[in-house]
């Protein structure tokens, strides 16, 4: 599996056991797009903008600078894997309601980092917590306010709290 040329990695991709073939040091983003996961999009190709974010074992990483081989044995989630049973997650639904996007090219990255943030915290979130959790995601259309609003609304709702409480 590690000898020259292409390698095969086994991973759980959006919940399904998957074997992927590719070059060891190729960016994981390219391999995932080849699988038809077009929610993985490159903008900066430097790990700066967050557009190509995927969750690797639950943690956000930049797929543009993630070597393909690192997918081996891991659980990989892309934006296509956020819904369940054909139903959007509460976070995705709230992004629509809060209009947390314009062109939406960067949206998958925001959603995945926000999902990781929500998974790793409990209760309502302050603006500062959301900013910390979504640091390193660029949106050129300028939807930062509504993104924060959407994430905080979901956080507040999951514990039946008022979305306005954490406002500064």
């Amino acid at each position: 599996m590690t000898e020259g040329g292409k390698i095969t990695v086994s991973c759980v991709l959006n919940g399904a056991k998957t074997d992927l073939c590719g070059e060891a040091a190729q960016p994981a983003s390219e391999a995932l797009r080849r699988e038809g996961l077009f929610g993985v999009r490159e903008t900066c190709s430097l790990g700066v903008c967050g557009t190509c974010t995927v969750l690797l074992d639950g943690e956000p990483v930049s797929a543009c600078i993630l070597p393909f081989y690192a997918l081996e044995g891991s659980e990989v989630r892309t934006v296509e894997g956020l819904e369940s049973g054909g139903r959007l997650s509460a976070l995705q639904q709230q992004f629509i309601e809060s209009q947390a996007f314009q062109c939406s090219f960067c949206t998958p990255g925001f959603l995945l980092s926000a999902a990781a943030l929500l998974d790793s915290t409990e209760g309502a979130l302050t603006d500062e917590q959301v900013e910390e959790g979504l640091q390193g995601h660029l949106c050129r259309c300028g939807c930062y306010e509504t993104v924060k609003e959407a994430v905080r609304a979901v956080a507040a709702r999951r514990h039946g709290q008022d979305a306005g409480r954490g406002a500064r």
Binding site: G5, E23, A25, G47, T53, E59, Y69, G136, H137
Partner: protein
């Protein structure tokens, strides 16, 4: 197309390095290596992926020192409760590196071995007097971080050596430390200047040991060796902080780029050195890291 090798122990990794094959590149988290490969700056023929190397992922807090396994991810370090309690400034500063996605992959050993001049941890580690442990099949050696980093993206690592551990002496209870990360453009930017300060003073304010390391402005963390001597053991009052700042301003030869010219960085270095010392010694905010 690079061949991939995946050692599972340190000795396997060292043996691979020792075979002398050209075009071998060590990869830990891969964030820096991938950037260089994508930029066409690096064409390795053989990648030695360290991810599965056992026993290099740890934070050990001992009475005299804190030991960080080289393959510990930055994200784990910033979240480490023992590290935050033993070395709060370092833990916070590690959380300032790049963004959470990079920190989820990048390791402390990779961060130091890359020797990026604009990274936050090197200056803090330099101010703490940290050392790195380097191993090869020939043996091992321990080198102060300040001697380990020798140029832009340059270290003293031999081709067969692996950085396995970072050792940070535990500061005494009187010691206060501060890190200021100053970015001159958007909050996502790399630092224009970073200042790490270490102050050991007694209750009367008499200084025993004062160290200041400036990052991102020169190839490697910039330090003047005789700060405490400069103060003559006197108290670190506002005037003394300014005087140290001025000494740094006179001595440093900073780079100039889109984040600020050399002259600008020089000026800001002087002011932020003074501020870091004031913050450490006078404000009661010691032991923290702050973004400016």
């Amino acid at each position: 197309m690079a061949r991939l090798l995946r050692p599972e122990t340190v000795s396997q990794a060292l043996r691979l390095l020792a075979d002398g094959e050209v075009g071998t590149k060590l990869v830990a988290g891969g964030t820096a290596v991938m950037l260089m490969m994508r930029a066409g700056l690096l064409f390795p023929e053989r990648l030695v992926a360290l991810e599965h190397v056992a026993d290099l992922d740890y934070v050990e807090v001992e009475p005299d020192a804190v030991r960080l396994g080289a393959l510990t991810r930055l994200r784990d370090l910033e979240r480490s409760v023992p590290l935050a309690s033993a070395l709060p400034t370092l833990a916070r500063a590690i959380g300032f590196v790049a963004n959470h996605r990079v920190r989820n992959r990048a390791t402390i050993g990779g961060c130091l071995s890359e020797a990026d001049y604009a990274s936050d941890p090197p200056a803090v580690l330099a101010s703490l007097g940290a050392r790195v442990r380097l191993r090869s099949v020939r043996g091992e050696r321990e080198v102060p971080v300040t001697d380990f980093l020798v140029g832009y993206y340059e270290t003293v690592l031999e081709h067969d050596e692996l950085l396995t551990e970072v050792v940070i002496p535990r500061p005494g209870p009187r010691v206060r430390t501060t890190y200021l990360k100053y970015v001159s453009r958007s909050a996502e930017d790399r630092p224009c200047v970073g200042v790490a300060a270490y102050v050991d003073a007694d209750e009367s304010g008499r200084t025993e040991e004062v160290r200041v390391a400036v990052g991102a402005a020169t190839a490697n963390p910039f330090m003047l060796g005789d700060v405490a001597q400069m103060l003559g053991g006197g108290p670190l009052d506002a005037g003394a902080c300014r005087a140290v700042g001025e000494a740094y301003e006179r001595a440093i030869e900073p780079i100039g780029d889109v984040r600020g010219s050399s002259d600008y960085r020089r000026k800001v270095t002087g002011r932020l050195v003074a501020r870091a010392l004031e913050t450490t010694a006078l404000s009661g905010h010691g032991n923290g890291a702050f973004r400016l």
